[in-house]
Amino acid sequence: MPSQLALPHLLIPYVSSPPQSSLTVLSSVLGATGNWLVLRFLYAALGTSAASNGEPMVRGHEAGRKSRVVLVSFLQGWEFWRLEAKRLGLDLARLTETQQFAFVDGLSELFSSPTAPAQPSPTLYQYPEAGTAPRTTLPIRSQRSPLAPGPAGLRQPIPVSTTSDGSPHKSAREAGPVKRLHLPVDGVAALDLFEREITAVINRLKSSPGGDGNESEVLLVVDQPDLLLAATGPSRCIGATEIGEWIMGLQQAATATVATVSADSPLIHNASVYAHQAATPLETEHAAFAVELAHRADMVMQLRNLETGAARDVSGVLRVSKGGAWGRRESAGVEESWEEKEVLYFVQRDGGVIVFGRGE
């Protein structure tokens, strides 16, 4: 039964082990979001060992080669990813403990300082020499909190049900196996800060012991970095080029990168060169960022609504196309043999996904 598989067969060639230093762009629209596909990427990278309940994992590589994942999310919190991954049989909290997974939270405190607004910006100056010595313990914000000493990455993840026992807000907020991003200042300095923080997390996963002595491969998933662009914009000195360069910096640290962007019509087509109307800076920058990202991508996976309107047993359309950078790397050869395709998908209530061709 295809519906029982966490990873539908049709998806396997696209989501499992993206090639070295490649960029995969995942575009979504309001009514067809891409979180389920991000989860499939996580599952393809992490799930080989976790879900080996007799299912043959059809992958191009032997099951021993696992990669690690860093997930940077700007629109969804840790709870969401943890619960949704659990539906697939991935225990992200445990994987975090074993240094196979790391979550970087770009939602909770990106624009708001957490609890104590008294000390606004020491974070920025906490990194006098950037890029030196990847410490195993990260200098993160929560270290300043007296309630939560100790490195966040190693701390035990808290159970979810602290809601009912009325634990104090502060401790719950500071705990959790996550690293939080906070945008303290305008402009490129903030992006540099993020880049250093995320790179440090990637390097930590890379160098952490994992069986053989080699450096592990780290898949970086950046969920909706376009939010950063939309919410800052050129007036805060962050434009499409700057975000694009920021992603490039992250790409250099990671083995392979997946980035999701919104491709809603107002965000792409209002500013399109083919449209003859004035566009707002938000639309222009977003379109430039999304299109440039697609130009740099090896693979572009586009999610959209069904043209014929909503249906009960179809969630949307997935089109996989070759991005602008496809074929740039000569080394890419046989193992990268996937073909462009357009399929329908249906996300079931239990979290399973069915992928099928039109008319099947």
Binding site: S28, T241, E242, I268, Y274, A287, Q302, R328, R329
Partner: protein, 348 residues
């Protein structure tokens, strides 16, 4: 078009594209590649690199969006977070022509995408696109060793430009197309064929990708359009400005790199008009349709037969004389030698 004219055009324009792509005689110091997501410039850039390697041209890649260098690139300059001045400095430092081997060395500078530079919010007001580009071609430093540099710049057409700082300054794309000696616009061959098929039927040619303006569609390209065989290849719409001022416009087809070995020396680019899929060999068909349908007996007339037939005065000519009813209306016919006249049957 007369056949002689066409063949002249073929040889001439094929020579031209061969010269341009192989960077001979510095025919085009600044080439602008206009690409889009529907047809990225990667195959053409690779073709440039391939030819440059064949003729031992030094290749520099200025990377605004590429992470790892292409194969065959001698120097890789990452332009991420660098000022234009730094980039120019780094590029000119990357190549010092060895004076010993060859005085007249050539070099190719590829810029993988100029868009990030043009969109950057950190450009100071003094940045000038034309001086930036010309500083690659004419390095200010050492005039002793002459280096022929050719710059090939890729511009993504589908990336919207920044809101103009001043409404009176021409847009960067306008400046680029004005400066460039050669402008090559890339199209996907299968799209060109689809559009041509629509035009041939007087339909509105379809658009693809972002132009479709469909929600959620960035890329319309699929390897195999439904119900069609794979049509590979890149169509190049070239505009070349000669020194004389005359422009040359031509459409070419670059076959996919898998069709020929990397060391292939002969010209592989063809005119689009020569491709059988784009322009089916209709000359023969057209001529064929003029001919009579074949049959077992001859219906055609020889020249002489035709002349004689025209010489026949038809009966109504006499009938018009008005000699009265029943008069006139005779067939006047001069007997020829081949007429087998029978006195009894053929009475006049």
């Amino acid at each position: 078009m007369a056949p002689s004219n066409l063949s002249h055009r073929q040889t001439h324009n094929l020579l031209l594209i061969s010269k341009l792509l192989s960077l001979r005689d510095t025919a085009s110091p600044l080439t602008l590649l206009l690409d889009s997501l529907e047809q990225p410039a990667t195959p053409l850039v690779k073709e440039y690199i391939r030819r440059a390697r064949l003729s031992k041209i030094h290749v520099t890649l200025v990377a605004f969006e590429t992470l790892k260098p292409f194969d065959g690139v001698d120097v890789f300059v990452s332009a991420r977070r660098k000022t234009p001045a730094d980039i120019v400095k780094e590029v000119s430092a990357a190549y010092t022509p060895g004076s010993s081997d060859n005085l007249n060395r050539r070099r190719l500078i590829l810029i993988d995408s100029i868009n990030p530079l043009l969109r950057s919010t950190h450009l100071d007001k003094s940045f000038d696109l034309s001086t930036f580009l010309s500083s690659f071609i004419v390095p200010g430093g050492t005039p002793t060793s002459k280096v022929d540099s050719s710059v090939v710049v890729t511009f993504h057409q589908d990336v919207p430009g920044r809101c103009a700082q001043s409404p009176y300054v021409p847009s960067p794309l306008t400046i680029l197309t004005y400066l460039a000696t050669t402008v090559i616009k890339l199209h996907s061959f299968s799209h060109i064929l689809t559009q041509k098929a629509a035009r041939d039927r007087s339909l509105v040619p379809p658009v693809f990708g972002i132009e479709e303006e469909k929600d959620g569609v960035l890329l319309g390209r699929l390897d195999k359009p439904v119900g069609k065989d794979t049509v590979e290849g890149v169509v190049l719409e070239m505009e070349y400005r000669r020194k004389s001022g005359r422009g040359v416009l031509e459409w070419y087809l670059l076959p996919p790199a898998s069709r020929y070995p990397a060391t292939h020396v002969r010209e592989i680019v063809t005119l689009l008009d020569d491709h059988p899929l784009y322009r089916p060999p209709e000359e023969h068909n057209a001529r064929g349709e003029e001919e009579e349908p074949e049959s077992t007996f001859e219906l055609r007339l020889t020249e002489r037969q035709r002349r004689e037939r025209e010489g026949v005065v038809l009966p109504y000519f006499d009938a018009q004389q008005g000699d009265g009813p029943g008069e006139g209306g005779r067939i006047l016919y001069d007997m020829g030698e081949e007429d087998d006249f029978d006195e009894e049957e053929d009475e006049i």
